[in-house]
């Protein structure tokens, strides 16, 4: 609704604008407020539960600032299996991200550059993991891999391919969007005509330009791996989420503290990498001008 205002003659000042409360926005603003409350409340209550040693029946406005401590979390650190499970989950996360990128970046580039006809098929295949949810996938793993390839399932790293499959819809979409955002054909042609080999083109042209897509898909993958419970539990792998779940059964405060730590940790990681790629991009822009 553009307002057409006639230009004022020179020398005449516009009257000061009064701030009017915009009644048109009251509905949407209420929705946003309600949503904010709903989505933040569990995080607040989680924090209070994990770090305040006041049981709920004794909690009043008078005791609200009492007995806050991180001991629930530090006790969890002292568990013998804490370190090993956390390390395993981190290794699985790194492994999953690497396999995902190694598999999807060439595939997505290939579809864009050489074989666009394959696009519908590839996109369909990347949605397929949605159709076979983790619980069905793990049933399939039990059905197929247990009798035929038990040696494969014995390794803890056997979780990696299944995590890659689980994260596929998000990661492929992210990388695909990143490729579409840059003019990949021009970049590749320019790089190749200047004499760069394919690996060099990949390393020096494509990967830096795709860095934000890589970061966001890496983050999504890490979040999936650090939170994945179904497959790990059913295949009896001692990953961090399995440990946290069992620990919660024994010490509820500690279990919740661990969950909070995972959440904060992965969000911080995302923020860190987002900033990293943003400053790098800005630096490159400055150095090029």
């Amino acid at each position: 609704m553009a307002l057409v205002t006639a230009a004022l003659p020179d020398g005449v000042e516009a009257p000061p604008r009064r701030r009017r409360f915009r009644f048109g926005r009251i509905g949407p603003n209420l929705v946003l407020l309600a949503a904010a409350v709903f989505f933040i409340a569990p995080l607040v209550s989680m924090t209070r539960f994990a770090f305040q040693k006041v049981p709920m029946p004794l909690l009043h406005w008078s005791t609200i600032l009492d007995k806050w401590s991180l001991s629930a979390l530090t006790d969890a650190f002292k568990e013998p299996t804490f370190g090993s499970t956390l390390l395993l989950s981190l290794k699985l996360a790194v492994g999953t991200v690497l396999v995902t990128l190694a598999l999807l970046i060439p595939t997505a580039l290939f579809v864009h550059l050489k074989l666009p006809k394959a696009r519908p098929i590839v996109e369909f295949l990347t949605v397929l993991p949605y159709v076979v949810p983790p619980i069905a996938l793990v049933a399939g793993v039990a059905a197929f891999f247990r009798p035929n390839a038990r040696w494969f399932l014995n390794s803890d790293y056997s979780l990696i391919p299944f995590y890659v499959v689980m994260a596929l819809p998000f990661t492929y979409r992210s990388i695909d969007a990143g490729i579409r955002a840059i003019d990949v054909r021009t970049l590749v042609d320019a790089s190749r005509s200047l004499g760069a080999s394919w690996p060099a083109t990949l390393r020096r042209v494509l990967l830096p330009n795709l860095s934000s897509a890589i970061v966001s898909s890496g983050f999504l993958t890490t979040a999936v791996v650090l939170g994945e419970f179904t497959i790990a539990r059913t295949l009896s792998k001692q990953t961090f989420p399995v440990f946290a779940y069992d620990y919660y059964g024994r010490k509820s405060q500690g279990g919740i503290a661990l969950a909070l730590m995972t959440l904060v940790g992965s969000t911080a990681l995302l923020g860190f990498f987002t900033l990293l790629t943003r400053t790098k991009a800005r630096r490159q822009l400055i150095s090029r001008s």
Binding site: V31, A35, M46, L113, L115, L125, V127, L128, D189, F229
Partner: protein
Amino acid sequence: MTAELIEVEGGRTFGAAPSDTAVRGRAARRGTAWLGLLPFFAFLGLFLLLPTYGVVRKSFLAADGHATLSGLSDAISKESAAFRTSLKVSVVTALLGVILGTLLAYAAATATRPKWLRSLVSAFSGVAANMGGIVLAFAFFTLLGRQGLGTKMLTNAGYNLYDTGWFDLTGFWGWTTVYMYFQVPLMVLVTLPAIDGLQASWREASSNLGGTTWTYWRRVGLPILAPSMLGGFLLLFANSFSAFATAYALNTGSNLVPIKISFFLQGDIAGRSPMPFALATWMIIIMAVSMGGYLLLRKRAERWRS
């Protein structure tokens, strides 16, 4: 002639080097270009298609090994309560998710101040939509469980949640509330692009022709958003139906299909009974139908996006 060889896809480069183009054309015509996708197909084949095939195959095998359809029919008849509860939860959470998600997406998409609001909503939705599982269940235990902070605040305000008889975090409305935490953000993620597609010029055209806000929504806005909303419903339905970890952490005895699959799998190590596999096969069929519907509707919705 060269038009065939230079792709239209992302084709801002019409001056592509001829040798590269010719190579591309030759390879594509010979079909060997597909070899480049071999790793991708092989990976998916091994780690997605083979397990799926294993599940479907085992659902047709009775305990003694002969082929039968009774596995599939037994799954429905014996676990009909689980199917009904799963379907009920999925439909309810999908409906609520669609309504609340669309409202939230509209509020975020049309907000002009502060400027970072939309990116915040979008980023948070990305995180929350994938959050699920045990972390979410734990969080809601601390908020709306019997000893939860929210429960206590509500009791102090005079409304005892657990006395009402219809709310229990480990029961139907408990699951529904918890599921909203990832259903609404998922709907927001899917709907934001669609709302962006509602051009301001259409709104202005409608007012110019004498329409009110209600007229605009009834004759222009909602019909255009309808495929997205319906598709979103199917996506949310599928998402809710397949959720396992959250339901498991809330109540290991929940009468939901994914929980039943896990229950039968853990109890039957030899893998003889077709029950968990039959349940999983039915689940795959339901998911395939919903996801197929979602994709079709999304294609329709994209007609309005330039």
